[in-house]
């Protein structure tokens, strides 16, 4: 797959950087993470190991990984809640460790646990947060509350997790920060509110904000993000743009031959990167170029069915999390 990675992480990623990210690489990254590592006192293993990535202005970056992969550790390092064992990070050119306060003047943060002051009403809580970092206007806070249908008059402890999450989102968004760092932002939100959140993210992006969000929800990342990074056991194993993924997927063909698949012929075609055979005999191949040569080969054989794959981030995700690909019935050839 012709994915993009400026850091050489993962064998899945080719250095052929084209499209969005290469254009962006001429810019100064908004978030720059350089070999960031974290090892907790009581653990032998690194929770995060030499993570390097760049996120560019106006980009929405989805950070994917299962529980314990290192997503929250990365976010908490960026926010200077925890201190790195090695490496560094900067936001808007400011060191997250040495210039933490200046960094936070430009950051909106949402915690993954939606911890809050349970005895305060939403209104009092937002007043408190507003005193520490003023919102753009009272009107904007009211607008956010209205759009997210947040109840500001009840104690936060009496609200459901989803309703508390709405208020947590308001505090992260109300000062229209240049950078948003969101740890599982839609956790607990109903589908209608999730859609409203996606709209708010788009609006922030249009204002030029850079958004770094972790998520378990693959469809969400696919829907709102420009780029996706997959983290496993504290290491970044893949980083690709959604645009690139879509292009890659469109160039992935699934072919069902009537007889034995002509694997040798297919593999001989220039521009075909990977050929695999599924259990049911279907051939999956990734084409970079040479479509006409592919169709020339197909014309010589009896093809029962031909389709292109849709963009499916879950496949990408599972690619890194399924230890044994044979379990899926695929076999690389």
């Amino acid at each position: 797959m012709g994915a993009i990675n400026s850091h050489g992480v993962g064998d899945y990623i080719s250095p052929a950087g084209t499209g969005l990210i290469q254009v962006m690489s001429n810019q100064q990254p908004t978030i720059e993470i350089n070999k960031l590592s974290k090892k907790y006192d009581r653990n032998k293993n690194f929770a995060l190991h030499e993570l390097s990535l760049n996120i560019y202005p106006g980009e929405v970056y989805g950070f994917l990984g299962p529980n314990g992969a290192g997503k929250s550790t990365t976010i908490r390092l960026l926010m200077d809640f925890i201190r790195p064992t090695a490496g560094s990070a900067s936001i808007l050119g400011l060191d997250t460790l040495k210039q933490a306060v200046d960094v936070k003047r430009n950051v909106g943060y949402l915690s993954g646990d939606s911890d809050t002051y349970l005895k305060m009403t939403g209104r009092k809580f937002l007043n408190y947060m507003n005193e520490l970092q003023p919102a753009v206007s009272k009107k904007y806070v009211a607008e956010l509350a209205s759009r997210l249908k947040a109840d500001l008059n009840k104690p936060l402890g009496s609200l459901s997790r989803g309703n508390r999450q709405k208020i947590a989102l308001i505090q992260a968004l109300m000062h229209q920060p240049k950078v948003l760092i969101l740890d599982e932002p839609t956790s607990g939100l109903d589908p209608l509110m999730q859609d409203e959140f996606y709209l708010l993210i788009n609006e922030a992006k249009e204002r030029g904000s850079t958004i770094f969000m972790s998520s378990h929800i693959l469809s969400e990342v696919q829907k709102v993000c420009d780029k996706v990074g997959i983290i496993r056991s504290g290491k970044l194993v893949s980083e690709q743009s959604i645009e690139q993924l879509a292009t890659e997927a469109a160039q992935t063909f699934v072919i069902h031959f009537t007889g034995k698949p002509p694997l040798a012929e297919l593999k001989a075609i220039d521009g075909i990167k990977k050929v695999s055979v599924q259990k049911d005999g279907r051939v999956v191949l990734h084409v970079h170029s040479g479509l006409s040569k592919l169709f020339a080969v197909l014309a010589k054989h009896d093809v029962k069915d031909l389709s292109t794959m849709e963009l499916n981030l879950e496949d990408q995700f599972m690619h890194y999390y399924q230890a044994d690909t044979n379990n899926r019935g695929d076999k690389d050839v």
Partner: protein, 266 residues
Amino acid sequence: MFSVIKWTLWQRRYSIMWWSIAVVGFILLNLVFYPTFKDQAAELNNSLSQLPESAKALFAGSSDFVSPVGYLNSQIFFLMLPMLLTILTIGLGASIVAKEEREGTIELLLARPVSRNKLLVSKAISAIIILLVVSSMAFLSISVTAKIVDIAVPLRYIAVATLGSVVLALCFGSIAFVITMLSKSSKAASIGVATLIAFGGYIIVSLSSTVKWLKNPGKIFPAYYYKPEDILRGNINWKYFIFPISIIIISAIVSWWSFNNRDIGN
């Protein structure tokens, strides 16, 4: 910084109110019976004189129970007021920052442009304000009640004795605070250790007047330097404040260093 102090006090407003009511209530209960007590002074002195020295030292640090100063010392300043203020400050020291860490709310504060230093100082100031509010209520109620029941002790001596209790309590609170700062998950440990130093020290210091070998070990406990009876008699020796204030300063420096260098939150 002001906002953190303001909202911390707002969150603890009921606690401040109930602590003030409790302290004032205890003081009234103890002082209001002084006229009756005074009328039976001769009999009481006779009975109390038969107590062993160690028992007298444990309950009043003195053999004078019935003079105005002796009564005020034994009933309020020797044990009751410093004990209540110590319980309050140990609780504050063990929770004022640690509770926010345990509950995850500290991230909401540190995600705004608030430095760790400012947060720590704001929380420490909030705790001191709470202690001062409660101790001011104590001072006022002692002063007013003493006037009513005719305990003739100059106000400034009562004020300095109250200050002595505040400094002693703050000393134990700072020990609880530094333990939570060094090891964020140890609420029980911080309360336990600080309480042990406070009340274990009190027992050792009280007994050191009769148990000779406890005299030198007693000097390492803040209670040794707490002399309310001397203060109430006008023998104010400010050097007795140096030891507890030194502990407060050392605890503050260690807390600052630890909070600035360790991971925050759970």
